[in-house]
Symmetry: D3
């Protein structure tokens, strides 16, 4: 069976933690690989606590955010890479798309995960979606041999946004993260300035666990993460 290689791309450096740390840990625990890319550090729009420190600088905020994200990824066993493209707004040029496409050709992900296309509360999340969707298709060709280097087609999903219904998020997959939940909590704990979100996403994982129990009747599921598939799931059997 093919090795699983998961690529998670977030707009800001902490996004992958709240929304997909469980599945990252799961895949690595099962022998797969996972790579996390942050298009920006969220240094302006999502680092409010850090800016309360007197004399704070953008470089220092970025440095702290990098360290936190790298430490979080380490708890899960994943590689972390930052593109540092700026936030609020996140501006992505053709070169940046090409850089991500090149990374995809190198890493050859079997699964790609990012933000949903819509987010009425965040200007950068839809930009991240568009960037990933474009880079992924640019590496794919039309299902035939191409005049350029391709990556094999990958599964494509989006993780759960903060206000799911308002982002057109329909959960179509619940991943049981019960076994790796301690790792997710450890990763979240690295985001020291965001105590409230640690509680919020711990409870959210338990709610999704409740939903997954209801769907299956499997009482062993305690925590879960929700995803929406964007292309059909091809399987050997139901």
């Amino acid at each position: 069976m093919q090795e699983k290689r998961l690529l998670v791309v977030g707009a800001h450096s902490a996004d992958f933690v709240w929304r997909s740390a469980g599945v990252v840990a799961r895949i690595i625990k099962d022998g797969g690989r996972a790579k996390v890319v942050a298009l920006s550090y969220g240094e302006r729009g999502e680092s409010g606590e850090l800016w309360k420190v007197a004399g704070q600088t953008e470089e220092n905020v970025k440095s702290i955010r990098h360290a936190e994200a790298a430490a979080a990824a380490a708890h899960l066993g994943a590689e972390f890479e930052a593109f540092d493209l700026g936030d609020y707004p996140l501006n992505v040029g053709d070169d940046d798309v090409a850089r991500l496409a090149e990374l995809m050709r190198d890493f050859q992900p079997t699964i790609v995960v990012t933000h949903p296309e819509i987010d009425p509360f965040n200007p950068d999340h839809p930009v991240a979606y568009t960037t990933v969707a474009k880079a992924r298709l640019m590496t794919s060709g039309a299902g035939v041999e191409s005049g350029f280097k391709t990556a094999p087609p990958s599964e494509f999903l989006v993780f759960e946004p903060h206000q799911p219904e308002l982002c057109g998020f329909l959960p179509t997959v619940f991943v049981d993260i019960t076994d790796v939940f301690e790792q997710k909590k450890a990763a979240m704990a690295e985001m020291k300035a965001q105590q409230y979100l640690q509680s919020y996403y711990r409870e959210r994982a338990e709610h999704r666990g409740n939903h997954a129990r209801k769907v299956t009747g499997n009482k062993a599921i305690r925590q879960a993460e929700a995803f929406m598939r964007l292309v059909p799931n091809v399987v050997a059997s139901l």
Copy 2:
């Protein structure tokens, strides 16, 4: 791992063949069980060729349709059961829903498949959907112990209708049926009066195979069947 038990419910006796014979064969080949229920024989609305025979009677049409469906199911290894509730219109009373619910409590399906909720070209298909959805929920309780006998929660999907876009059908799962396609062809061949549909659904399976190849890059897939999941898929990992 739990044994797979697939329940397919069609409005008319031939529906399961065109739309899900591949997955039925697949599950049985892999050691699971499959049961097919036909709510009616389609004796009035979908047996036109048979009515061209002089002196034809409804009883005789039903008898022929039963034999064909049973023979098709036998090619796949599945059990076939007919409720014989009439067609055009298919009328389903509370007792009939209760009968299907009882069958679910006995068979304890892990996967339930039926028609989509919408079909602008057929009065009976949506009735079949409603019947199955209601019976399934009536056996489920609210995820807690109940004051009545329940069946464990099952996966719930709809198979591909004849004009997918007009029935709100979004294919979310492609099942590779390459290995069992000869069985599907044999099952379809039992529907002797419907030569055209045999070609149509053979080509359709190949088209869906093409789509599945495009999604995965897996050139070994030749034929596929398409389904839409109605409740989230709970999985151990992506």
Copy 3:
């Protein structure tokens, strides 16, 4: 070319006038036939002015409503038939559906028009839709010979409801009614107790005329009626 036969089915006796009198007149003027069916008189819920008359009775209200609708139909050249099934709520039994199906088998409509499926402001309009959709499919068979008498497949559209956006109404067809607008006004004028609606739907026809001009650039269009097709339009050419 085949003769056009239009069947319009309204929940209440005045519905066809406001929403489709133009197209009824148009088809008749062009040599086709048109039949209007009212499932009820709207005697309780839509005849408020009449109930202000001292000593008013339900029978008398129905009688007045019948006369008004028949006179309106006469202005257009159409036949009017009332099923008198009651309103608020409109209750339609299996026998009533069968009656409408029988009427369809006799009249053999090439075009069927009724209310949209959704109306958050009226309990009877969705019932009319469901009745018509069911009767229409019960006369159609599955595109093959059937064990019962059928009518040829017909075009199927819904007319414009009072609050279009809230009824899921997407106008896909604008019919130019400029030439027959005087007839529509005459038909509307028969609804003597509903002065306001006469102004409202006169202005509405002009607004739809404005929309149709914008779509085509054809300045000769002054008034139009809007419809939504429910099944694809099959044409000899674009």
Copy 4:
């Protein structure tokens, strides 16, 4: 200004507590009135813990559920009325719709709240929706005088279901329940056999409070309840 009269209709006797206790308390605290109707007790499908008691009977379960719901309503200051129509399935006849319509004509609600129309996990919730929608329209007439007693038009909303995205629930209104949250907790605590749901909906209220803070920037909001409006909101100004 007109007195607010809120009518909440649940399929089962505990539904109103988890989903709308806050807004019920809020309206009463502000001098309005609120009435809660439960179409059934949820005695078979949602009373699992009670059925674990040896020798349990349906009558006894209903009696306990009635007492709990009445006590919860009392914490909020609302009247509680049970229709006792049975659950799994909840069967609602024309007489039951008429009974609810009569209740609406008497209570003259200015706001009506019930379940969303869709729930893939519960057979009774959509039945409750349909019942309420039908009764509400049957009391409304067509905006003119009618041949029957009417209630004034009311606002119409649905409360938050257990798995919002899968029920087509789009939150369009967040009500700040910070001030009355202790009352909601007291009401929830009456549902003694459902400890887990008490935690779940306490956390859910806090999450919705977080969403409401994000929308407004108002840090004083700690807990909120989410609703979806089904008809437009008519206001004196933005």
Copy 5:
């Protein structure tokens, strides 16, 4: 209570008049403030009558359009500002977005209104939407302190487009403009070259008034404007 500050942004200089003059007048009459921004004058695509004048120049058309819009705004008591970015196509660069964001940080709107995101009949309206949505989010931060100056979160709505159903416009709010309708008529009258639209939008306001009466039963409402909220409405109570 917080002062209301309404910001209306139109693609062309007359847009705000037809679609939102009533609510602008209403808010000012109640003691709030309102500012109107026009991204372009619509000098090429929407000034057809002016171009019929021999020797007409683009500068002169802009000058006339500015005067008309300023006069219309004056009837309502609002400030008018033109960005003069050109039309057909309206091109908005990053600097223009930043200019609008800066204006938002200064004006600190509590309510922002613009065009819907979709318009199959106009290339500039969706550009206006995108510009406003982006500028608004760039001033908002992620609900926490930010590394840049923010404006408080604002309500966000779109006004009614010319062909609502085709622009995905679902009216979720009707504002009663009966009291200020004379002001709206005066504002519309300034658009001297667009006589037909004056009639059209006068009738439209009356139709929306009819809809609002139907929703509420409040016969005092004669004219209304329709809006669609894009983010949930947070309220103290239903």
Copy 6:
């Protein structure tokens, strides 16, 4: 009656053949004109077979693709023009949009056809849609005289994509291509390196023919092409 002038715009040079060759042939056979524009040759992403040839160059691939498309267009009687803007990704600048708009002002199409707005499997198809939609609106003005040269409003449709349900494609028009199907086959045969697609789209045309027969009962229809209208259809009568 006005001469029909059809403009088909594809992202890659072969797109028009698979998806609209029938309707192109039909319109020309009936005395209209048709022009095909290819924004790129698909030289990198869709010419896999050609790249298997040793020493292949991009220029040579383009040259072969041009010859094939021109030959296919010749079978239908249409003019073919290539913009040669590159593929994977197709990049379209403002100048290219202006070039297409200029072409529209010259050709004055009465019908414009292109790709749907969404395609999760192709990065270039949505770019083609956006280009065409923008150019078309830039030539239209606002339904009044404009300060620039306009083309008359045209009908606007999208042709069938490879995986229709996943591209939001709802077939609203089926065009009977039975009479011109030999021409479509001849055009498809020019795409020598794409044997499989020739079979695929031959079968697809027959499936759509089956759908069109089902909609109409017209057994003479053997092959059809499916389209989705994007703006309402204005007609003289139903």
